[in-house]
Amino acid sequence: MRRFLFGALAAALLLGSGLALAYRGGYPSIDYDLIFSHRSHLARETTCETCHANALTSTTSEDNLLPKMALCLECHNGQKASDACELCHVNASNLRPTVRPPVHPEFDHKAHMQRGAACADCHARVETAGMAGPEHLPPMEACWRCHDGTRAASTCDLCHAGVKDLKPPSHRAAFGHTHQFLARGSTERCEMCHARSQTCSECHEGENVSPATHDRNFLFTHPVDVQQHAIECTSCHRMDSFCSDCHLERGIRSAEHFLPEWVSAPGTRNLHADRARRDIGFCASCHEEDSPTCVQCHADPDNVRGTQAGYDIHPPGFARDAGEGPWHDDAGYFCFSCHQNVTRQAGVGFCGYCHGAAD
């Protein structure tokens, strides 16, 4: 069942990735039947305006800024440059017109260029491209860098007039959970629609007194969620301080602490050990760093390595991988909560664990 579950989800992820790669961009593609190289034309001292002169006066996205064939023929006349049909047309024996898809959002080239914008400011990397495609149109973040409400207006309908549903597809499923991953690498995209002060701070920086995140009875049912999704709690709450605000101040202990199997002899079922292996942060949220309860049993009283079988709390290979650590210079480091015999002599006590007599 487990393998099937993870296999199915892994297949879905791979399928999704494959499908995603098959698409070329958020802007609609133009189905060209042409061959063209921006790179080679720009290398021949042709400028953007040579072919896209309309852009200087265009005030709407509806304008067709693609050059007419007659303009190509001014150079491709058989003398200055080749006039062979196959040079530009993929299928010269079956020519068809280029159909432009509906254009969105609204854009005024003239107004932007009058304010000092250069073509490459928005159409990055087009100078090294062959045919231009959706990947050479600017992402919305590029707009927002000026349209931030201060330098230029940031109202939605300035560019998206008449569009009813501007919510991106990513917001339509489990967005309360997934937005953390979408925002982790960059928040620019989020801030285009959600001013940080109005949205993020409601949950992430304020005292969230509205029941937007948890149900009102969550106070009484949270033990269920904590046990099942403890790591998820740490997405928002610092467990080392948040839990203890109530649990320590009011003396509330988790119900499982009262079970007979919670602490029992080594070699038998120890629920607290299972819990610690599953999420040690759960323990750390209440148990003090300075005098942890764990030390009552998980101590090293005889300072002899290997005599505490069943009480060793370190992962396999811990000593081998420990390397140089703060315990060499700091006599107050937490290691000495358990390993109390610190002689600073090779072969003796805790130091002897790694530094044998020959050292």
Binding site: G16, S170, S241, Y333
Partner: protein
């Protein structure tokens, strides 16, 4: 009054702020003094304020008593209209109005920003002060300096350095560099307008000891209106632990269907200088899937499943229910580690005229922590409220909440809230 002030400390004398007085001063100022949209000019001051009063009566712990908690939030953004400078602050004070010290204050952020308006495609800035830095594994609040530079088409770098920002319990304390420090950087790369890759690195130290040394990789792609992909990995060098590996995909918008799936492998993340960091901890593996169908623009239905796997134990969770723009109902069932739980929820909201709206919620939980612990139990909650919004800048809201469970036979609460946004000066 002893204990009724906030303490600010930076390797020197302590400064105490009379918080109850500050609360009244701030509340009075914004309520009666600040004009809304008071004309245009190069400089501007904008922000919003929110005053909350939370009254509750509870019979546990006995005896029955009434408590009054007050919270005051204030957000200010000041642009002097010169040199691309701006100042941003957001903070709150809170306390129990009756007898406890009014001593909980938090400065969430307070920073000066310089964001030069270069050419199109800028996006560079420098910020100094307390701020929430969003930089991959370095995300968090620091008291220090952060900068972002757009290095070229699709390439940007964010770097920060400072002391750790105050936590939940010490809202305004400033730490010295030796006490706690954090620095890091994130490089972002956009090979395509809809693909964003980033790598981030952060180092944290506390009392001279290394607490965190994190490396992260982040991917977000929205290659079409049908698909969103994301992947995230975080490795903690300080404890040699891969603490998070997550990948997900949302595929949708085909005849209203949206499918989301995610897999993750997560380890507990503790500071390296914590006693608990040396324990043998193992990862959780988690899988989630959700199918939604938008039946009409206003009505949708969702079914979701989650599984958390740990060693030989699996926890299952199922959530189903329809939702509309006027509210929804749903059923949640989970079974696994520690407990079994079933719950029903319903919520609704409606506009009453142009300025008034009403909302109500209902939840019923039935849960069983397992043999040997607590007996089977249930919880029932209900809430209802009204919001009056005469203008976009003003709102007044009230809500009554009630709860009944094995601990409380009687728990009724009232939340009152006034919000106000304001803007003085600046262009339109």
């Amino acid at each position: 009054m002893a204990g009724s002030g906030l303490t600010a400390r930076l390797s020197g004398p302590e400064w105490r702020i009379p918080m109850r007085g500050a609360f009244l001063l701030v509340a009075g100022l914004w309520l009666f003094a600040a004009p809304v949209d008071a004309g245009a000019g190069p400089a501007s001051l904008s922000g919003h304020a929110r005053s909350v009063l939370y009254l509750y009566e509870a019979d546990a712990p006995a005896p029955l008593e009434t408590r009054a908690q007050a919270l005051q939030y204030l957000r200010l953004d000041f642009r002097p209209g010169l040199a691309s400078l701006s100042l941003h602050t957001y903070g709150s004070v809170r306390g129990d109005w009756s007898d406890e010290p009014f001593d909980r204050g938090r400065l969430y952020f307070g920073y000066l920003e310089w964001a030069p308006s270069t050419r199109f495609g800028g996006g560079s800035w420098v910020r100094a002060g307390r701020q929430l830095v969003m930089a991959g594994v370095g995300t968090g609040t620091v008291d220090g300096i952060a900068a972002r530079a757009a290095l070229g088409p699709g390439v940007d770098l964010t770097a920060f350095a400072g002391t750790l920002g105050a936590g939940e319990r010490d809202g305004v304390t400033l730490h010295g560099w030796d006490e706690s420090s954090r620095f890091g950087a994130m490089a972002g790369f956009r090979p395509h307008p809809e693909w964003h890759l980033a790598a981030s690195y952060a180092v944290g130290r506390r009392d001279g000891h290394l607490t965190d040394q994190l490396l992260g990789a982040h991917l977000r792609a929205e290659p079409s209106r049908l698909l969103t992909l994301y992947a995230d990995a975080r490795h903690q060098f300080a404890t040699r632990t891969l603490i998070d590996l997550t990948g997900g995909v949302t595929a949708g918008a085909w005849r209203g269907w949206t499918l989301w799936g995610e897999m993750s492998r997560r380890n507990p993340d503790l500071p390296a200088d914590s006693f608990f960091s040396v324990f043998d901890a193992r990862p959780n593996k988690e899988a989630r899937a959700q199918l939604s169908r938008a039946i009409t623009p206003d009505i949708s239905a969702t079914a979701g499943y989650e599984a958390t796997l740990f060693d030989d134990e699996t926890t299952h969770r199922v959530r189903v229910g329809p939702a509309t723009r006027w509210g929804g109902i749903g059923f949640v069932w989970s079974d696994g580690a520690g407990a079994r739980q079933a719950s029903l929820y319903a919520n609704g909201r409606a506009a009453i005229g142009r300025t008034l709206s009403a909302h109500a919620t209902f939840n019923y939980f039935d849960y069983d922590f397992g043999p040997g612990t607590l007996r089977d139990s249930s919880a029932l909650t209900a809430a209802g409220g009204l919001e009056f919004r005469p203008t976009p800048a003003w709102s007044l809201a009230g809500r009554v909440e009630a709860l009944r469970n094995r601990l409380n036979e009687y728990d009724v609460r009232f939340l009152g809230e006034i919000r106000r946004g304001f803007r003085v000066g600046g262009g339109r």
